[in-house]
């Protein structure tokens, strides 16, 4: 019964609080009146009776408060009251409030956004069954120093691996580099789609099934099976309007009929360190790939994914595979057999490259939040310094220290909460921009707000509120009420100690800012180096586009060559085209292929020591069109084609590696497949990836040598983009079913490949700039405040004969001291932390003295600027005015 009574009281107190309060007043009034009546009866006068009653009763207001304090919810009540008071105080100073909220919003928003990315991309498990047991397996090569980690796997090794580990893991292979032409669909434009060859069990290893239709079966995955294809959801929606009747229909890939057997769900995205997140179709590998590729140990075309069975760990599997791989390498004669097996979780495989930049960025945003909190704490401290008198009076009247502290905390909580909500909005906008700008990023599709992000937001708001509130409340002068009250008559300088907290905050703030600036400058320098790095040819006004001839219609090499020759001839006649050429892959647009080569004129060498040379096919006009300098010898003639295509040009790096000081012209190279090429020319180096040094490269005629695909290069004097349509029209006239893909300028292609560097550096730079502005504002604020506080003192100094310059120096020194100490702290901090980002820097040393010097100079300049105005104002004080100012 008692709980029932208590509950009733609680509800009553919660919902009828105002009523209860009125009743309490009645009750007390009634009591007093009875006492007065009694006193009157005892013969007192009206006034006397009243005073006597009040004497015996005590202070009615205080007792009423005490009675109320016994009610339920009284804590809530006092918090609500404090909130109202705090909100009113904040609204009274809109300037301060808006600035504080904006600063908080920036700090909190940046953290929410980055945390969301880190959580969604790096931490959230992959949306597959049993994500903890999914691993990506690769090969490594201890001989090749350039690319020894996480290389693709050859099908020969895969077959052996699968057999050896069948009791421990389910393995599947996938080759996500197989593009297809989709065409022949009455009225729809032909299109090049990103495709993957995969073993039939690929989807079941991941534990996913098509949303529509069926999975591949073992029967589909054989050379004689009917051709089958599974579509990605996006492709199905876009090209086939999401029509469920697509299952069982025939589509034309590379001019051959394929039956659509399934459509994946929208959430299915496969990502690996070799891409794959933009795949549009999947086909069974044993039906698609040439038979030799499915058994060779020398051609590495596959990614292996494995589902570890219970009781098996990755190290166990890797130990077994490493032993196996060593054995394979010993038993094979080819030099391009790798000798190591490597593996990591599928998640790590997809996001490993983002870890350093993302965690670095999270550290940066954490610094920005700390700086923002310190800034707001500084503002709050300044405010409470200005309200010292008010607070002292309240303390003198019995206001508890805890209550006053609570008020301060609630004030900063309100600011943080408002900032946090605004920050959430900022974060949302930022994430939309990120998703838009970085579609290339693995797992970008996983980015979304979830309950963990919500908890994080609340935690960050609470942290900011407590951090800034407590720092602001640590006011060392708050204790001596008396001196604060005595200051009532004259404003004189505040004790240095009182400003001490803000000065300390400033020092830390400057220190953090310096660290951010150093990081940002390093990234920016690296990005600029990357941007201006010479890929070996002029990149402006070059248009590239890819096409791929379907072998079913262009069966013989002579047909393919005839098409290409006709195409290039016609492209050259388009008005505005300065030069055009054909190459297998343009510079800066990626890896093309490589072969182990030996010089026939040299003594034979064991396969393992043969140099690995990148190979590109080119037409005779390519070198002039791309303006790759011919250093010696000549380029191909137009009749060096098909059977007469055994000639080659090498670049400088290849010449150095293969021939050293010898003259390469006239020498012969032999590939691992036994074909021989005569070297007829020497050309300049180009880079296949803008961030990597040029590799040894060989060019042989694209007319012949088995090329059925290529990249058209068009150079113009200006506005080369305008030529894209005319060139596409020429292609369509020659073959209306042939799609062109990846139409872009060389500059766009290169920019695309360094977009991550650009993104990281610009983002960190903008955070560093925010930090710098906040630090400068903090410096200015503290100094301006100090000057106002010291007006009288400075007036006296000037009146007693202090020179203007002396005053200027005095104030400047006051402001620059924390900046200098902060700078030193920051430089030390940077020195200790920059090595974390060394791995993502391009041709830039982490401890670059120039960067450190620039940052120091910039910071000092900004600090001096921020201090100059208050200092100048102090030195211009009119002593008479200053002394009268009260």
């Amino acid at each position: 019964m008692r709980w029932h009574h208590q509950l009733r009281m609680k509800l009553l107190m919660l919902f009828r609080r105002g009523h209860a309060s009125a009743l309490l007043d009645d009750e007390i009034r009634d009591h007093l009146e009875r006492q007065i009546v009694e006193n009157r009866a005892a013969g007192m006068s009206a006034d006397e009776a009243r005073y006597a009653a009040l004497r015996t009763f005590g202070n009615p207001a205080l007792l009423r408060d005490q009675a109320r304090a016994t009610w339920s919810w009284s804590v809530l009540e006092s918090v609500m009251r404090d909130m109202r008071v705090a909100a009113r105080t904040l609204v009274r100073t809109p300037g301060f409030t808006v600035i504080a909220i904006l600063v908080m919003a920036l700090g909190i928003g940046a953290n929410i956004a980055l945390f969301t990315v880190v959580r969604s991309v790096l931490l959230k498990p992959l949306p597959f069954r049993d994500p903890d047991r999914l691993v990506a397996l690769r090969e490594g090569d201890s001989h090749n120093k350039n690319f020894q980690d996480f290389l693709p796997v050859d099908a020969g090794s895969f077959n052996e691996w699968q057999l050896a580990t069948r009791n421990r893991a389910e393995m599947a292979m996938v080759s996500p580099w197989q593009d297809y032409n989709v065409s022949g669909e009455g009225g729809k434009l032909p299109e090049r789609v990103r495709g993957a060859w995969c073993s039939w069990n690929f989807f079941s290893v991941l534990g996913v099934t098509p949303a529509l239709g069926r999975n591949f079966t073992e029967q589909d995955d054989s050379p004689n099976a009917a051709a089958a294809v599974i579509l990605s959801n996006a492709t199905w929606m876009r090209r086939y309007n999401g029509d469920p009747a697509i299952i069982g229909k025939t589509i034309w890939l590379n001019a051959r009929p394929y039956t659509v057997i399934g459509v994946m769900s929208p959430s299915f995205v496969f990502s690996s360190s070799f891409g794959g997140n933009n795949l549009q179709i999947w086909t069974p590998v044993r039906h698609e790939a040439p038979p030799w590729l499915l058994t060779t140990f020398a051609d590495h075309e596959f990614i292996v994914v494995a589902h570890l069975l219970h009781g098996t760990t990755l190290p166990m599997v890797l130990d077994q595979l490493n032993a196996l791989q060593k054995h394979i390498q010993r038993s094979q004669t080819s030099g391009s057999v790798h000798d190591r097996a490597m593996g990591r979780s599928m998640l790590d495989d997809a996001v490993e490259t983002y870890k350093t930049p993302l965690y670095a960025m999270l550290a940066v945003t954490a610094c920005v939040l700390l700086i923002a909190c310190m800034n707001v704490a500084g503002l709050l401290a300044a405010r409470s310094a200005a309200r010292r008198k008010e607070l002292a009076i309240r303390t003198a009247l019995g206001g508890g220290r805890w209550r006053l502290m609570c008020e301060r905390l609630i004030e900063s909580l309100l600011l943080s909460a408002a900032g946090g909500l605004l920050g959430l909005l900022l974060a949302w906008v930022g994430l939309q921009l990120l998703v838009h700008a970085r579609a290339d990023m693995n797992r970008i599709e996983a980015i979304r707000f979830d309950s963990v992000v919500a908890s994080f937001t609340i935690a960050v708001i609470a942290f900011s509120a407590i951090f800034s509130g407590v720092i602001a409340a640590l006011n060392p002068g708050g204790r001596d009420i008396l001196s604060a009250l005595q200051e009532a008559s004259r404003t004189h300088s505040e004790g240095i100690a009182r400003i001490g907290v803000r000065r300390l905050l400033l020092t830390l703030q400057v220190g953090l800012t310096v660290v951010l600036l150093v990081g940002a400058s390093l990234l920016l320098k690296s990005y600029q180096r990357l941007r201006s790095s010479d890929i070996g040819v002029p990149v402006d006004n070059v248009l590239t586009m890819k096409l791929n001839l379907p072998l079913i219609r262009y069966k013989k090499p002579v047909q393919q060559v005839a098409f290409f020759e006709q195409l290039i001839d016609q492209v050259r006649t388009i008005p505005g085209v300065q030069a055009a050429g054909l190459v297998s892959t343009a510079p800066g647009e990626g890896w093309n292929g490589d072969q182990l080569m030996s010089v026939t004129e040299h003594p034979p060498m064991p396969p393992k020591e043969m140099p690995d040379i990148q190979v590109r096919g080119a037409d005779p006009g390519y070198f002039a069109a791309i303006q790759l300098p011919l250093l010696r010898g000549r380029v191909f003639t137009s009749d060096e084609r098909l059977e007469r295509a055994n000639v080659a040009l090498v670049n400088q790096t290849a010449a150095r590696i293969l021939f050293g000081m010898e003259d390469p012209i006239g020498k012969h190279l032999k590939t691992q497949f036994g074909e021989t090429y005569q070297i007829i020319g020497l050309v300049g180096d180009t880079r296949w990836d803008v961030s990597l040094p040029p590799g040894p490269t060989l060019y042989w005629p694209i007319y012949g040598n088995g090329y059925s695909s290529g990249t058209i290069i068009v150079r113009s004097t200006n506005h080369v983009e305008a030529l894209a349509l005319p060139v596409q029209r020429v292609v369509a006239q020659l073959d209306s079913d042939l799609p062109v893909a990846d139409v872009m300028t060389l500059r766009q292609a290169i920019r695309k490949s360094i977009v991550d560097s650009e993104f990281d550096s610009l983002l960190v730079l903008s955070f560093a700039m925010i930090a710098l502005v906040l630090a400068a504002a903090g410096l200015y604020g503290v100094l301006a405040y100090m000057v106002t506080q010291r007006t009288t003192e400075i007036g006296i100094r000037i009146a007693l004969g202090a020179g203007r310059n002396q005053v200027l120096q005095l104030v400047l020194a006051d402001g620059l001291r924390p900046a200098l100490i902060g700078l030193l702290l920051g430089l030390a901090g940077s020195f200790a932390t920059v090595h974390y980002i060394e791995s993502i820097l391009y041709q830039t040393k982490a401890l670059d003295p120039a960067v450190f010097a620039e940052v120091a100079a910039l910071l000092l300049a900004v600090a001096a600027l921020a201090c100059m105005l208050p200092a100048w104002r102090a030195s211009r004080l009119d002593p008479m005015q200053a002394l009268r100012t009260e």
Partner: protein
Amino acid sequence: MGKPSDLVQGTLDLLILKTLLLEAMHGWAIAKRIQQLSGDVLQVQQGSLYPALHRLEQQGWIKARWAESETGRQAKFYSLTTAGRAQLDKETANWNRLSSAINLIVSEAG
């Protein structure tokens, strides 16, 4: 401030409960009664009765009802609940134990 002078801390609750054992009363009457029964020894600062009354009410040991008083005005009458009676027994027993213990020490010393 606000604490009943000359009154052992915590005994105000006991006094209120005891006073209310016989009949429902309003605040002023409770104050008067405590004063009278103690032979004017216990000078309760009248107002401090109210925080105590409200605390007891929140805890469910007494309940209140607004009713017409002897003067014809509405007054808040407090009465014991069942739980309050039990609490009174408990506190009385406590008090007896405590006071006899103190008596024992004091008389021994004398």
